[in-house]
Symmetry: C2
Subunit: 195 residues, 2 copies
């Protein structure tokens, strides 16, 4: 008997899968160095190691041909002016894509390539976003009231490479300016070396 | 510049993507030999070559690492006792999976392996179905009133193999019995040869 088909449910308003194998939780302490305002980060962390985001995933063989999928939930909040966001990563197998289908909330997917091309796309209920092969990606929740919830699918062999993007962060930041989300340059970011 | 990220919208009640490249339509005439009741099929076709189902797809490179995705819409109706359904197929690259996320309607995914294992899973709004690598799959709309609408994602290199399953059809049929959907054996189906 081959690996058998299975079904689970995604129900509003929470969209937590009725069946899952992995529940990944990321707290503020796991995001050290990711937010521009280090002082705001430390001040916040000294009060509480708050939960920033969660991922529910179905366990499947991590090989090409399989499709890993699940739900990502980014909670609302800010560190300084910067909205709560995921750590963001390239796939270890760089030329693998990812599909996101936004279920709830509002935000952006911040993306970039190893060559320094960048893209920011809006996420809102009903939006399907294609992250092509080779694009690092990070979800940002720009609502200060509700969760940003996305359904995601990526190839089983993709893997996660957090290190490459961690050194200087993404090229683009999403911050609150005059009460509205704004897309701004990351002052820490520098051009990749010409190869 | 690499292949750029893009977004489109899926909005109820139709869920037709706000952006798409391929719109595939399958009419009754394309399903010759697929329904058990050949007399009912011919009688129906003599009246009208009715539209059974539609697929909206985004065009992407058909290579491993990319993820083809879109919307499948199976319209309501029956040929004899058998509900409207998709043609059904294996992937040409057999060991590639597919993820379905039902948006609207009610029905079943009928699945089987080359070895003769079979599975039938219910589709309803909020249901996410994993079709593992090596399973042929066909959507069946068991509502006689509304469309069965699913969002799907599969690997770019998967391809479609319709021929293998076409000879004797799927092992399992979904038919109306006493006004209710019933899962029954396909009388034309015989065991695969022992290898």
């Amino acid at each position: 008997m081959k690996n058998a088909p299975f079904t689970f449910e995604l129900n509003p308003p929470e969209f937590i899968p009725s069946r899952y194998d992995n529940h990944i939780t990321r707290r503020l302490s796991a995001m050290k160095g990711q937010y521009s305002n280090a002082a705001a980060f430390e001040a916040m962390l000294s009060k509480e190691d708050i939960l920033l985001y969660e991922v529910y995933e179905l366990k499947l063989p991590e090989v090409a041909g399989e499709l890993l999928h699940g739900i990502s939930i980014v909670h609302p909040g800010k560190v300084g002016d910067e909205y709560f966001m995921t750590k963001g990563h390239f796939h270890t197998v760089l030329d693998t894509a990812e599909v996101y289908y936004c279920q709830k909330g509002e935000g952006y997917m911040v993306m970039e390539t190893p060559e320094g091309d960048w893209s920011v796309e809006a996420l809102y209920p009903g939006a399907v976003l294609y992250v092509p092969p080779c694009w690092a990606h990070r979800s940002v929740n720009t609502s200060l009231a509700e969760d940003l919830i996305t359904f995601f699918v990526y190839p089983g062999n993709a893997g996660h490479d957090y290190g490459t993007i961690e050194d200087q962060g993404f090229r683009t930041l999403v911050v609150e300016q005059d009460g509205e989300p704004a897309i701004v340059d990351n002052p820490r970011w520098t051009s990749p070396p010409v190869k």
